[in-house]
């Protein structure tokens, strides 16, 4: 029996001539019976790699052997032995759970006898037995994901490939899935699992870290993380506001790889373990995380101050900038948001955190006047969104979840258009556009249609367009999902520097680590704001944000179980 399930050497994939390769000279092997994580930001080449392994794409250069077969010439033989769950799970939403399973079982050539035994076993394993008659489209994200897994397992594969199985799925379901897959490997199945969540990495036996088509690291994630032992610190006893402290650290020219806000303190990754002694009084050693190591591999975080706020001044003096007053939204008998109340103070970053479908977006839409509350009010600087939406909205800069700029227009045309609709004119307009180009490093792409920009630059342009008119309030809907960690740091540097000048920010996210950037968080679950508080208030000693999130939701479920 061969030890490795896949051997890839010097693999390159170019989609169209003259373009940058989607995968560039990649060599690795996948060990049998292990879970390998394929990690990288959107556009890194993860999906391309998986498709190449399955023979759905053919390589431009290099060699691929999977299960000792050539995926291009022996495609059908290969598919006999592989299971694949594509993005969006590959389910027929208008078929029931059982009909989906029947279809994939038939297409994998299972006999009636085999079907009966595997169905029973797989349904029990995934707790889907009570839902066999439900349409796949009516399942929750977590259940869809499990059904997708079931369907990919029906052919009894030796090698299971999962493409971003955790997108759109809440952390609890994510953990369950990981446990299921872990159990599978015990029966000898090899798994390749792609993800853009860095915090999933530590659960894999080995990882492949992809960025921009290049394989940056292959190996054990724990070893990689442990290599930073002793060089990661949290600030303590500083009496300084964490954001101001972060800015000073970024400016300090010290040998620092990474510095990010974590709750009340700043997390600092040093290049040298010995440096700590100099700062003993206010640095406390902490355990390194996988993300620290990734940043090191990527060459360290951008160590410069954001210039975006240099000309910003917020004239708004109200102390409460944003207020949700018993906001409720019902669709028929379904309550999407139930009696949500919070206040956001000037210069605060406030996060709405919760799984998909919990009611974050509904609350968010009511706050920016895109959806009318069934009852309750949304107030922006004291102005009721329902009474004077135009005036209330003029205080807002809004960055939508999906890229919502004009894709065919060039970067410069988009900037000009947004400057125009915000009423900027003449030299004002020109100066502001020049400043945005400068701050966000857009000069290289001015003539490029914005739809074809790399994801990081799309986000930059979207932010530039949202803050063009110096809004005192910024609404950000999942601003950095899928973006690589360096760009994400740069993005938050910009946000932080604006908040320092008094800008107020409301942000939605399902990235747990992003919640750390917020001053306060509202945890939204089943339409309710189940907890509001600062990240350090929500977390218990030693917990990550995700642990805290899962604990709070379980507590909530138990309490309501008891009530029923």
């Amino acid at each position: 029996m061969i030890k490795s399930i896949a051997e890839i050497s010097h693999l390159t994939k170019v989609f169209s001539l003259g373009k940058k390769p989607a995968l560039d000279d990649i060599t690795f092997t996948l060990p049998r019976g292990k879970i390998s994580g394929l990690i990288g930001p959107d556009g890194a080449g993860k999906t391309t790699l998986i498709r190449l392994l399955l023979g759905l794409l053919s390589p431009s250069q290099g060699k691929i052997r999977v299960l000792d077969l050539d995926p291009v010439t022996e495609t059908k033989d290969l598919h006999q032995k592989t299971g694949y769950m594509p993005q969006k799970f590959g389910l027929y939403e208008d078929l029931t759970v059982l009909e989906n399973m029947n279809l994939y079982a038939d297409l994998n050539g299972l006999t009636e006898q085999e079907k009966r035994t595997s169905f029973k076993q797989l349904l029990a394993m995934t707790n889907l037995t009570p839902f066999t008659e439900r349409l796949a489209g009516n399942l929750s994200g977590g259940m869809k994901q499990k059904l997708g897994l079931v369907c990919s397992l029906l052919g009894h594969p030796d090698f299971l490939l999962l493409d971003e199985p955790s997108v759109g799925v809440d952390p609890i379901s994510r953990r369950e899935l990981m446990k299921l897959v872990r159990d599978l490997t015990k029966s000898g199945i090899t798994v390749l699992w792609s993800t853009s969540y860095l915090d999933e990495a530590e659960q894999f036996d080995q990882i492949l870290l992809l960025n921009d088509g290049k394989l940056l690291f292959q190996g054990n994630p724990k070893e990689l993380t442990n290599s930073l032992d002793g060089s990661v610190f949290l600030t303590q006893n500083t009496h300084l506001n964490n954001r101001r402290l972060l800015r000073q650290i970024l400016k300090s020219q010290k040998p620092i790889i990474d510095a990010v806000i974590q709750g009340d303190s700043v997390r600092v990754v040093m290049t040298d373990k010995n440096l700590q002694r100099k700062y003993d009084t206010f640095l406390k050693q902490t355990t390194p995380r996988f993300e620290d190591a990734v940043i090191k591999i990527l060459g360290g975080a951008p160590m410069h101050e954001s210039l975006v706020a240099q000309n910003i001044s917020v004239s708004e003096t109200a102390s409460v900038m944003i207020e949700a007053d018993h906001l409720t939204k019902r669709y028929g008998s379904f309550t999407a948001a139930n009696d949500i109340t919070f206040q956001i103070k000037r210069g605060e970053i406030f996060g709405l955190l919760g799984p998909n479908g919990a009611g974050k977006s509904t609350s968010f839409k009511m706050m920016c006047g895109l959806s009318k509350p069934t009852s309750g009010n949304a107030l922006i600087t004291g102005i009721d969104m329902n009474i004077d939406p135009t005036k209330a909205r003029s205080k807002l800069g809004y960055m939508a979840q999906k890229f919502s700029l004009f894709s065919p227009l060039s970067v410069l045309q988009n900037l000009r258009f947004f400057a125009g609709i915000y009423g900027l004119k003449g030299s004002d307009k020109k100066n502001r556009i020049d400043q945005m180009i400068d701050v966000f490093n857009l000069s290289r792409y001015l003539g490029t249609p914005s739809g074809t920009l790399p994801l990081g630059y799309k986000q930059r342009l979207a932010l530039a367009c949202a803050i063009m008119h110096n809004p005192p309030i910024l609404f950000l809907d999942e601003p950095t999902s899928g973006v690589d960690p360096l760009t994400r740091r740069e993005f938050w540097n910009h946000i932080n520097s604006m908040v320092e000048k008094g800008v107020t920010v409301m942000v939605t996210t399902h990235f747990m680590d992003e919640a750390e950037y917020c001053d306060r968080i509202a945890l939204i679950y089943q339409g309710n704001a189940i907890r509001i508080g600062s990240p350090s208030q929500l977390k218990k000693q030693g917990e990550t944000m995700e642990d805290a999130f899962i604990r709070l939701i379980c507590e909530y479920d138990q309490k309501h179980e008891v009530k029923k």
Partner: protein, 370 residues
């Protein structure tokens, strides 16, 4: 090929669950049939016909009477040519019949030809066509009687002999409805299928299918079989409406009708699948199908607009429109019966088209993602 049936089952379930496919297969044809039955009416009850008689005798009178005696025409007398022309130009009358003053003289003279002039306003070609053929019909009828009365033998003096076959009442509905089935089925067949393959790509299920054991042939055949079933139901629904609701006679063989319709459905499905495969986006596919399917079928199938009166280049294009072959075949099956000389060649061309489209579909269906 053993994976065709599970896929057909899947398609069928999807069809049943998806209200839009029922809408397209049954409601859309119903609406279109109603439009064709009531709104597109080529019958010209009471067309205003101007009449100018320059020379008067009893033969001319006979002819005039036979025009007057029809319920389709309202005859208005004019005294001079200029009034008649003005009325025709202004649209007061749609056509004019002029009996010249030498008509009576020539009609009795075997060495001369008698002339009648029929003018019609061709800005409405249907009316123009109708008037001229109607005039010819009336005249030849009159002439036959006249010649019998006079016991004249020899060459007929009026050369054209239009004979109104199959639709003796000249009810345009009987002619339009069967033809419109060809157009409706082009549209239905293409729209039903246009979404089917683009949907698999958009929802990411295509990728899942590509990694199972199915072959390209399984995939294509399953789509054909499932949607053939639905489209055939839709055709039968249209046929039942035509025969039992609109009382269009059905004189041909039902089995032959099924075979010809099946061939035609195969061409429509093939076109839809090809559009769907190339578009990879449901919206684009739907628009393209409507443009590529419906409009040419209406304009170029020869069912509303006579192919022989099209410019040569355009008439060449009509050879690529499957409805061109289906419309006459179906018309004959409804109104004429099994006229093999028409049905066989048209079916042959439909078969060639269907096979060609299937072949193209097979060639452009990819087993990889690039």
């Amino acid at each position: 090929m053993k994976y065709v049936w599970p896929l057909v089952k899947k398609e069928t379930l999807q069809i049943i669950r998806d209200p839009s496919s029922i809408l397209i297969a049954f409601i859309l044809p119903l609406i279109l049939l109603l439009i064709f039955a009531y709104a597109v009416n080529l019958d010209n009850n009471k067309i205003r016909l101007g009449l100018l008689v320059e020379g008067y005798d009893h033969q001319a009178n006979d002819i005039i009477d036979s025009f007057k005696g029809t319920e389709y025409l309202e005859v208005i007398r004019y005294i001079n040519r200029s009034d008649l022309q003005t009325a025709l130009i202004r649209g007061d009358i749609k056509a004019a019949l002029i009996v010249p003053n030498d008509f009576a003289k020539n009609i009795g003279d075997p060495n001369n030809t008698a002339h009648l002039q029929v003018l019609s306003d061709a800005s409405d070609p249907n009316i123009a066509l109708f008037i001229s053929s109607y005039a010819q019909g009336v005249l030849s009828n009159w002439q036959r009687i006249f010649m019998q009365e006079q016991s004249i033998t020899g060459p007929t003096q009026i050369q054209i002999e239009p004979v109104i076959w199959f639709n003796p009442e000249l009810k345009s509905r009987n002619f339009i409805l069967p033809g419109s089935i060809a157009i409706i089925m082009t549209l239905v067949g293409m729209i039903l299928t246009a979404l089917v393959i683009s949907r698999e790509w958009e929802r990411g299920t295509m990728e899942s299918l590509l990694t199972t054991k199915i072959s390209k042939m399984d995939f294509i055949l399953s789509k054909y079989i499932a949607y053939y079933g639905l489209a055939l139901c839709s055709t039968l629904f249209c046929t039942v409406l035509c025969v039992f609701v609109f009382h269009v006679p059905f004189r041909g063989s039902f089995i032959v009708y099924l075979i010809v319709s099946s061939l035609f459905i195969a061409t429509a499905l093939g076109q839809g699948f090809i559009v769907s495969t190339l578009a990879k986006n449901q919206f684009l596919a739907a628009i393209t199908s409507a443009m590529l399917g419906f409009l040419p079928a209406v304009m170029l199938s020869g069912f509303l607009f006579e192919i022989s009166s099209m410019p040569t280049a355009i008439s060449w294009i009509t050879y690529f429109i499957p409805a061109r072959y289906f419309a006459p075949a179906i018309n004959n099956l409804f109104l004429g019966g099994n006229i093999w000389s028409i049905i066989l060649p048209q079916s042959f061309f439909l078969l060639i088209g269907a096979l060609l489209l299937f072949f193209i579909m097979y060639k452009i269906t990819k087993e990889r993602l690039e």
